[in-house]
């Protein structure tokens, strides 16, 4: 009788532990997914800001056509790269877009009226903070991946993770070329 009770208690405890571990893993994995979608939200925010910026700059520096067109083209490229879902391609297109924006702001330096424009200053603030947010969203994604990968690889969770198909996630890594100077075609 006692033996049966002990066995029942052990089974209940093990089942409870499995349920707890499983729920914990699901929560951590969902956080990784959420962190990834956060990056897309911020990228989209940047795409939405760019047409306004181009319009504003046009009003003051219409003959900087090439720079403006480079930004618009880079934006279109980045959006279509995002839709393909190829992470490497997307990272490259985003880098080109960042570079194009940088040269647009460099060009703006030569136009005092533009630099004093309230709308332009606001857009500059929004774009700078969006760049920050993209970086922070990637950082948070990587932190979440680290936490998740740690969880599914340590004993005894790894036994559970492999039987329920919790797969290792990859980090978002900056394009190795991005550390060098960004080339912008004019």
């Amino acid at each position: 009788m006692v033996a049966v009770l002990v066995i029942i208690v052990i089974i209940v405890v093990v089942l409870l532990a499995v349920a707890l571990f499983y729920n914990g893993l699901v929560r951590t994995r969902n956080r990784v997914d959420n962190a990834w979608s956060q990056i897309d939200v911020q990228l989209k925010r940047r795409y939405d800001l760019i047409p306004n910026l181009v319009e504003t700059v046009k009003g003051y520096a219409a003959h900087e056509r090439q720079t403006l067109e480079a930004v618009t083209a880079a934006r279109t490229n980045a959006i279509s790269a995002q839709q393909t879902g190829n992470v490497g391609q997307q990272a490259q297109a985003e880098n080109v877009l960042s570079g194009a924006l940088k040269s647009l702001f460099a060009v703006a330096e030569a136009y005092p009226d533009l630099k004093a424009n309230q709308n332009f200053l606001q857009l500059q603030e929004e774009l700078t903070s969006t760049e920050d947010r993209i970086a922070y969203a990637r950082q948070f994604y990587n932190d979440s991946v680290l936490n998740y990968n740690n969880k599914i690889q340590v004993f005894p969770r790894n036994l559970l993770a492999s039987s329920f198909n919790f797969e290792k996630r990859v980090y978002f890594e900056g394009d190795p070329e991005a550390t060098g100077p960004v080339k912008v075609q004019f």
């Binding site: 956060q38 606001q122 929004e126 903070s129 947010r133 969203a137 950082q139």
Partner: protein
């Protein structure tokens, strides 16, 4: 490898959070206890007997709950803070939103204090009910990177869940100020001396850029202005203690008893060693 060499390396967040919750409870009990003791003495003098004791207990419980519930509002009112307008303080909002993404926190309500002294604090009961306060001096004087360092420090108070103890201390310890140095001891107990250094370190963990916060600390050190509206029981909240500054002028031994901040120079040294 000495214990003090790295106060953060061995930190245990869950232990730290449990400690804070436990200390909050002790402060509230001390507060309620004092009211009860005073009430019972009055009751004995007047001679109302057992009925009086019940009334005293009820009042003590009500006042304690009120001290807990109103703590954030009292801190905001005590600092003369007003809500930060979305468009007027765009950069402030943007920086906090970015940092919240990095820290995985909900965005707290933002407030400003019209004051030239650069300072800031975070208050509230939990990450979901948190507020961030910055002086206009801080927002105007610091550049983007420096401001980000300070705001990340304040957000990590929210993340480490140490705003609860420090905020409740505003009303509860504030009500115990008549106890003088004993209340100071209670404040040290509530807040702990590692709070600021821990927030400096975990703030840097959010921005991944120690020189930003370091430059901000140096700028604040060089600025002699002190926030106009502060109370002794609120100094633990501020980024830089208004109490320490008063030492040159009005500062008293009682002020120092309430001061929970390590010197700025020490915090700068710690960041430079990272």
């Amino acid at each position: 490898m000495t214990e003090s060499a790295s106060p953060v390396a061995r930190r245990d967040f869950h232990g730290e959070i449990r400690r804070n919750q436990w200390h909050t409870l002790v402060i509230l009990l001390a507060f309620g206890g004092l009211i009860t003791v005073v009430g019972v003495i009055v009751d004995l003098l007047v001679g109302l007997g057992i009925l009086g004791v019940i009334v005293v207990l009820l009042i003590a419980a009500l006042v304690t709950v009120a001290a807990y519930a109103s703590a954030t509002a009292v801190a905001l009112a005590g600092a003369h803070a007003r809500p930060a307008d979305q468009s007027e303080f765009r950069r402030y909002h943007n920086l906090v939103e970015g940092l919240c993404i990095a820290a995985g926190l909900p965005k707290p309500d933002l407030y400003v204090v019209d004051d030239v002294a650069p300072n800031a604090f975070a208050a509230g009961r939990s990450p979901r009910h948190a507020v961030l306060v910055a002086t206009t001096g801080l927002l105007d004087e610091l550049n983007r990177v420096e401001l980000e360092g300070v705001l990340a420090h304040e957000l990590s108070h929210v993340k480490n869940d140490d705003i609860l103890a420090a905020t409740v201390a505003v009303t509860a310890v504030g009500g115990l100020v008549i106890l003088g140095p004993v209340a100071g001891e209670l404040m040290q107990f509530a807040v702990g001396s590692r709070r600021e250094v821990l927030a400096d370190a975990s703030g840097v963990l959010i921005t991944r850029y120690p020189p930003g916060l370091c430059a901000a600390l140096k700028k604040i050190q060089a600025n002699p202005a002190v926030v106009r509206h502060h109370r002794r029981a609120m100094s633990q909240l501020w980024f830089e203690s208004p109490q320490a500054r008063d030492d040159h002028g009005r500062g008293s031994w009682l002020d120092r008893a309430f001061d929970t901040h390590p010197p700025l120079a020490e915090r700068i040294r710690f960041l430079e060693s990272m």
